[in-house]
């Protein structure tokens, strides 16, 4: 397994998207991790006297309208974005992948049922529905995770089903059937490992979308609730100050854009690295 990772890195270094995207993504995760151990200032600290300061040695990115250190808020905001997006794709993968595998292995009416459920979920505009769900269930990080997670399920189900269908046609599957293995065992032992590359690439895309969705929900006040900082919430609060303190909006905005860009670049690079290698296995 580790030789494979080393090989991926070896190929990845030559791919620009992989490197740039990878570095940005790595930075993002490290910052999020950092937030558990240290932030320049504790988040709760409201220091009205220090409000709306420009960047200085004391406050590296300045302060917001409550006197809170912007840098600290961005760091903890990163953590919240990671957690929400991560658990949301966890839901998507945890439920979507088994559904996709099941659909591909059984065909027939189970496949139909799963695909109709997929179509049904796709028919709802995801972000608006997420808003509706959190508005009904009540705002908060947990509910926004659930809302975003639900819309990840059909994405993964559909993509895994597609990949699995073509894998089922391959001869080593016939060999496994000749050995007496049943559908479930074959799906787990043979089909799933051959879809991992596609899964990882899609996961990076969905992760980026998850961050955007979380930012959107928080912007509307439906996501992470104060006092926990969130990039979306920061954007929302910055609105009133846009004319004379635009930096309050620019910082979280740039953070979101940079992170999502980094993830998308990494996903693209990863796809390039993983795909031709699959062909190199011949």
């Amino acid at each position: 397994m580790f030789e494979r990772l080393r090989e991926i890195l070896r190929h990845g270094i030559r791919n620009r998207s992989f490197v740039v995207g990878g570095l940005i993504t790595l930075m993002f995760f490290l910052v999020a991790l950092l937030s558990y151990f240290w932030t320049p200032y504790p988040i709760g600290d409201i220091n009205i006297t220090d409000k709306l300061l420009h960047p200085s040695a004391k406050y590296l990115l300045g302060t917001d309208h409550f006197g809170r250190d912007i840098l600290s808020m961005l760091i903890v905001g990163a953590r919240n974005s990671v957690i929400v997006a991560f658990v949301a794709i966890g839901i998507g993968i945890g439920i979507g992948v088994p559904l996709g595998l099941m659909a591909a292995s059984t065909r027939g009416w189970i496949d139909e049922l799963i695909m109709r459920f997929n179509d049904f979920t796709f028919a709802f505009p995801s972000l608006i529905s997420a808003i509706m769900i959190t508005a009904i269930m009540g705002p908060g990080a947990v509910n926004s995770i659930i809302a975003i997670g639900i819309f990840n399920i059909p994405v993964f189900a559909r993509i895994i089903r597609g990949a699995a269908l073509s894998i089922w046609q391959r001869e080593f599957i016939l060999a496994a059937r000749s050995a007496g293995k049943g559908r479930l065992r074959i799906s787990i032992e043979h089909v799933l490992p051959n879809t991992i590359s596609m899964l990882i690439v899609q996961a990076t895309i969905q992760f980026a979308l998850g961050i955007l969705a979380e930012a959107g929900l928080s912007y509307l006040g439906l996501g992470t609730q104060p006092p926990a900082p969130s990039w979306g919430k920061m954007l929302n609060e910055a609105q009133t100050f846009i004319h004379f303190a635009p930096q309050l909006a620019i910082y979280p905005g740039v953070a979101i854009v940079l992170t999502v860009l980094g993830l998308n670049l990494f996903g693209d690079g990863l796809r390039d690295v993983l795909d031709p290698k699959l062909r190199r296995d011949r």
Binding site: R170, S178, A179, G180, N194, D281
Partner: protein, 317 residues
């Protein structure tokens, strides 16, 4: 009692309808195919693409169910016995596939690939015993026992086919179905694998069902063959009888078409006459390509008739 008996197998596929309320037409991939294979016998099936030979291979391996008819392994009807019994019987018949690149899971190492049939069919083996069996099989097929830690992509096509053969042998089966197993290999490697197959056959008294479109290979490896055209057996018998004296016009056509390796014997192109007859539902299905077709061939489909152990389905023999 024959080792394997294929009994009047018919395999139909429903074709997609052209219009919504039109009756779906049916395509017969295999039409009333029957033959048997004795223990230790090498039986060949030849035919061109689309004749149904791969479908036949799957049905014999019980990987596909026939629409009518059945397959007997010794006296077990593979399609009526309970699933658990079928699963246990699988140890006796295994398959080697055509594509040496596709028949091995690229994500697994050689050890789990070759040991796979043991997972279900000999669950009681300890990890060490399993590994030992795999190493033994690998050396039987001419590979190194250290190869168990490698991945398929580290091997050449011929070596992968050997791995596939090792996998097929690990449960000590009595029948191996080789579906175009050497077609994708280079000539020199093909020779190595064919020699291996014949050695193994002799050593373990294995029966082989050898499916191929390459007539020279089939002539070399098999003792009995069946020639299939559009899902029907048109000629069947001992290999040497059929190759020395083919009786069915289709067999003659196939044998004539093989390019001769002797450049001094340049084949003269024969004038291909337009056959006068059209195929329809009642006629012999070979009538539109048959140089020996006559009126009688329009009337019905010929059945296999015995000419001294040599079965032929033709009115003009």
């Amino acid at each position: 009692m024959a080792l394997v008996r294929v009994d009047k197998v018919i395999r139909e596929y429903r074709l997609p309808q052209k219009y919504l309320f039109q009756k779906a037409s049916v395509f017969r991939a295999l039409n009333n195919v029957s033959f048997s294979i004795e223990t230790g016998e090498s039986f060949g099936v030849v035919g061109e693409s689309g004749c149904g030979k791969s479908t036949l291979a799957r049905i014999i391996m019980a990987l596909d169910k026939p629409t009518e008819g059945t397959v007997y392994y010794k006296d077990h009807d593979l399609f009526t016995i309970p699933k658990s019994e079928l699963c246990q019987l699988r140890r006796h018949f295994q398959m080697v596939f055509q594509d040496p690149y596709g028949s091995l899971n690229p994500r697994k190492k050689v050890l789990p690939i070759v040991a796979e049939p043991l997972d279900m069919l000999e669950k009681q083996l300890s990890k060490k015993d399993r590994a030992d069996r795999v190493k033994l099989m690998l050396s039987e097929v001419g590979l190194n026992s250290n190869d168990i830690e490698k991945y398929p992509h580290e091997f050449s096509g011929g070596q992968r086919q050997r791995i596939a053969i090792a996998r097929a042998l690990i449960t000590k089966p009595s029948l191996i179905v080789a579906d175009e197993s050497v077609s994708a290999l280079d000539v020199s490697v093909q020779a190595q694998v064919l020699n291996l197959i014949m050695d193994l056959q002799e050593k373990y008294n294995l029966a082989f069902l050898f499916i191929s479109h390459d007539l020279s290979v089939v002539e070399f490896v098999t003792q009995k063959i069946a020639v299939i055209y559009l899902g029907r057996i048109v000629e069947q018998g001992e290999t040497k009888d059929i190759f020395q004296q083919p009786l069915h016009p289709y067999t003659k056509l196939l044998l004539n078409a093989i390019p001769d390796v002797d450049p001094f014997n340049k084949k003269v192109k024969k004038k291909r006459e337009k056959t006068r007859y059209q195929i329809d539902e009642t006629s012999c299905q070979f009538i539109d390509r048959c140089p020996e077709a006559t009126e009688i061939c329009r009337q019905s489909e010929p059945q296999l008739k015995d000419h001294n152990g040599h079965l032929v389905a033709c009115f003009n023999v």
